[in-house]
């Protein structure tokens, strides 16, 4: 699948209500993973003119989960994801401009996945924050009737 085709497929699935509310969207595909983008707005502002750390963390978590879902879909695995924890490092203040985030699956085993994510603004080589997530994978069981 080309990046263009992949972007079309990715955009067909709606993002969670929380992500939509903040204005998060799938921006483009990078190395086969969806890159999320969000415009600066009052909704994601912390101290005046700066991004709120919680909103930025939420964006990176979303990117991490989107990357893991992409990887699991390639494998054809049907599992439910349960976040165990996330550790976020803030390196630079997020300013009033578009923010991007992408996830990278370090390892996805049968039960556990370790996924990292980074966020940047105008310079792809200067991340403003990184996140590391551990996610429990539980098999989707057929409804009992």
């Amino acid at each position: 699948m080309t990046a263009e085709e992949q972007l079309k497929v990715a955009k067909a699935a709606p993002l969670p209500p929380y992500a939509q509310g903040l204005g998060i969207e799938i921006d483009h595909i990078e190395h086969g993973m969806p890159v999320l983008g969000v415009e600066f707005s009052d909704r994601i502002q912390g101290r005046p003119d700066f991004l709120h750390g919680g909103a930025l963390s939420g964006l990176m978590e979303m990117a991490a989960i989107a990357a893991l879902q992409t990887e699991l879909a390639r494998r054809g695995d049907a599992v439910r994801l349960k976040p165990i924890n996330v550790a976020v490092e803030f390196m630079r203040g997020g300013t009033k401009q578009r923010t991007f985030a992408v996830g990278r699956v370090t390892r996805a085993g049968r039960r556990l996945a370790c996924v990292s994510a980074e966020a940047w603004q105008d310079n792809r080589d200067k991340p403003i924050a990184t996140a590391l997530m551990n996610i429990l994978l539980s098999p989707v069981t057929a409804p009992t009737e």
């Binding site: 929380y18 992500a19 509310g21 903040l22 709120h52 939420g58």
Partner: protein, 163 residues
């Protein structure tokens, strides 16, 4: 290094050096910006701790519809709640208000938040140096003995002395 939700000079009056009262400050902090959009509210505070409340809302969930996992608060709002609660806890200890940024924050998700229930975020500052504040916190939906999440993190004073 990012944000603190307390407006400093500019949009809202909370100047550096002024004594910090969470009950008063929350009215400002929870009306504007990200905290305002999420609908955060002041709940309680003491020396070194602050509790904020986040009422459940349908557009803050991670999974829409009626399927498995639907109606559960997304994790993003939980991080934001705890970022604000722990950050305000620092100010209750510092006394005078000083702008600060989050250096890092770790969240452990114990269980899903119950759909429809208000989440309480209790933030504590357990160690303060001139520059760095060490914080921890718990998010729960009614019973602090059955927490939704635990957090730990650090804040750094902006333009403070080194060391």
């Amino acid at each position: 290094m990012t944000e603190q939700s307390v407006p400093d000079k500019g949009s809202a009056p909370l100047p550096t050096g002024v004594a910090f009262d969470p009950a008063v400050a929350s009215k400002l902090l929870t009306r504007f910006g990200h905290g305002g959009w999420l609908g955060m509210r002041y709940h309680a505070h003491g020396d070194g701790w602050v509790e904020l409340a986040l009422p459940w809302r349908e557009d803050l969930v991670g999974i829409a519809g009626n399927g498995p996992g639907s109606g559960i608060l997304a994790s993003g709002p939980i991080i934001s709640l705890m970022d604000n609660a722990t950050s305000m806890a620092v100010w209750t200890m510092r006394g005078p208000f000083q702008p600060q940024v989050t250096v890092d924050l770790r969240v452990d998700y114990m269980r899903a938040a119950m759909p429809g229930k208000t989440l309480i975020g209790r933030g504590e500052c357990y160690k303060l140096t001139r520059t760095i504040a060490f914080v921890r916190g718990v998010a729960h939906d009614g019973d602090i003995g059955d927490p939704v999440a635990h957090v730990a993190g650090t804040f750094m004073v902006l333009d403070g002395p080194a060391g």
